[in-house]
Point group: C2
């Protein structure tokens, strides 16, 4: 549910919402762009721009100077092309060439990222080849996901192709103790000698900070743009883009010994004041944030006070313990799910996952408000 | 993405999809309805009908005889009213009376489920009270979530209200060893003596099978309608409603010692054939299904063979081990995520959660196909 208005008004719509700071997004893009210059900074906006809404995110990035975009597949690409319109913006479909949609790559000017001989042969016998539709080539240098095996890509390097980009993807760019990224980079550079004059790209958000040798011709950050998963040690100070809030529906006193929530998994060990928030796993709050008496789950924030989740996260509702801050807390108040007091990475860690998963599972029931500072 | 067509055609759209069997849904409704008769069987279709698409689900239930529906809030209620149109179908908004939307309850004929004195006082001073807009009353009998405290509800029982339904919700209806459901029922019946002639409801899906004493005037199943979370011991044989499939994008040979996926969290202990599936956590497949060498994650199915997930589930992709069944497996084939070989409850258990969470986090990127048998 994407609203035209850009300010949340609880008098108009009382429900959970996220606030997306497009100025922060723009600043993050510009900071990376400057940092990697003269390398080009593209943007990874697959999965509906990590759940934040591809239209608004893409428009802001274009205004910030971005010209190249990575999406997951042709369907996301078509949606993005309808937003971007102009063909001067490049759109790459990372999941490869889908056999069912060959006419659409040309029609919407989407660059398929070829990743296997299968796809290459299919491309070659199609009208896309006759019309020299540009392609990108993805080489698997040790990630074992999409991408050509090394022998296979060498077998096609003499083909007459319009290759816009040669790319590879790192398995663990964020692991500063691992030698694997260096090995992947080395392999990639070695193979790219077979594709003289073609632009090269290997860096995702984390690889950008492994050193300039990873920047090559083009970097393609995703999560950093959205202000998440940042190591504070990095040279770029990323700005927070996303905050989430949910309203209090009820406040109640629970007597010592009462059970709270599903499975009676939490029993109050003393008289407790709880607030019932209108947010649950159907909105994207992981059930793994639940608390039992034996295991502490996640927390949210009310007026800078941490309020622990008590009992199980249910489909539409969560109970939090507000005993310590009940004086200034009222029905209708909004609780910070993540934001100023707790970033999404902290919440994700308490849910035993990563911010990427939290962002992409935000449900359409959650309203999105875009802030232009 | 909800399609007009009701048959999945991979030549038209190659991507993950779910298949929803509306005949099975209808049969499940009719079976429950017959089982609880003369109690009335309503349907809980909140959170977009547990992620399955409220429009199609509601229309099918209406055809099957359902006349009363529970949604989470006024916004879901408005959407549902636009689908159902006729006022003969009752819509209850479980999350209570939202202070911001009082004119809409009457306009769209939505029954707010009042759950606190706050809401009651708000109702009483509004035009809703003057126009005797019907309400339901939710009593908290030991769940400690939404609902009136017992003393509070007794204080309003003499008020002049148009109460359509008195309800309560059980904390652990599925726990056959717990005495809590009996205690909740007892409390509920005791208090309802103060509301003579008002219809009563306490049973969700699991409570229906605790015995006839729970059926009262109206039962309101949710998950059972969708064929999930069933105990095989129950007297009703529920039919499977939802199946999920994802296409194979690439098949590759991985040498012993190679790492697979993010974090290099899985290393092949022998030469292995893997398939890369186009589905990931952005589609709703929990990252908690990931495998490491130390910890086995979830499995999917190809031609009735279990294919274990290897490495981490990523945003758009998952790798599975197809070494044992590679002979008949090809790029473009569809893999069963859950369905005939493995129901959604088994997959949920492997992800350390419940089918409810899996269903409601299915992303809009996943196509929905509705099957009318």
């Amino acid at each position: 549910m994407q609203k035209e208005t850009n300010i949340h008004d609880p008098n108009n719509h009382l429900s959970a919402y996220i606030e997306i700071d497009l100025s922060a997004l723009s600043n993050n893009y510009k900071k990376i762009s400057k940092f990697v210059s003269p390398s080009v900074c593209a943007a990874t906006i697959k999965a509906n721009a990590y759940g934040l809404g591809i239209d608004e995110i893409a428009k802001t990035l274009v205004k910030s100077g971005c010209r190249e975009f990575f999406v997951s597949d042709i369907y996301e690409g078509i949606k993005l092309r309808k937003t971007l319109k102009k063909n001067q913006f490049e759109i790459y479909a990372l999941n490869g060439l889908k056999y069912t949609k060959d006419q659409d790559y040309a029609k919407y000017n989407i660059i398929p990222v070829l990743g296997s001989l299968n796809e290459f042969y299919y491309y070659k016998q199609s009208s896309m080849y006759d019309n020299t539709l540009p392609v990108a080539i993805h080489i698997d240098t040790g990630f074992s996901r999409l991408g050509f095996d090394i022998e296979d890509v060498i077998s096609i390097c003499k083909e007459n192709l319009n290759v816009k980009l040669l790319m590879s993807h790192l398995a663990n760019a964020d692991d500063t103790n691992s030698k694997l990224p260096e090995l992947q980079l080395e392999k990639f550079l070695q193979i790219s000698n077979n594709f003289m004059g073609v632009r090269k790209s290997i860096a995702n958000s984390h690889a950008i900070h492994r050193g300039q040798s990873y920047h090559l011709d083009l970097v393609r950050p995703g999560i950093s743009l959205y202000g998440c998963s940042n190591d504070n040690q990095t040279q770029i100070k990323y700005e927070q883009v996303v905050k989430m809030f949910a309203p209090i529906l009820q406040i109640k006193e629970v007597k010592k010994g009462s059970s709270i929530g599903y499975g009676a998994a939490f029993v109050a060990t003393k008289d407790t004041t709880i607030a019932i928030l209108e947010i649950g796993y159907a909105d994207g709050i992981p059930r793994s944030l639940s608390s039992t008496n034996q295991h502490e789950g996640g927390s949210f924030y009310i007026n800078n006070n941490a309020v622990p989740i008590i009992g199980r996260v249910s489909m539409d509702l969560v109970a939090v313990n507000i005993t310590e801050c009940k004086t200034n807390t009222n029905v209708g108040d909004y609780v910070e799910i993540f934001g100023t007091n707790q970033n999404i990475d902290t919440l994700a860690k308490n849910a035993d996952t990563i911010s990427y998963e939290l962002l992409t599972r935000l449900n359409h029931r959650v309203q999105k408000f875009y802030k232009y500072a």
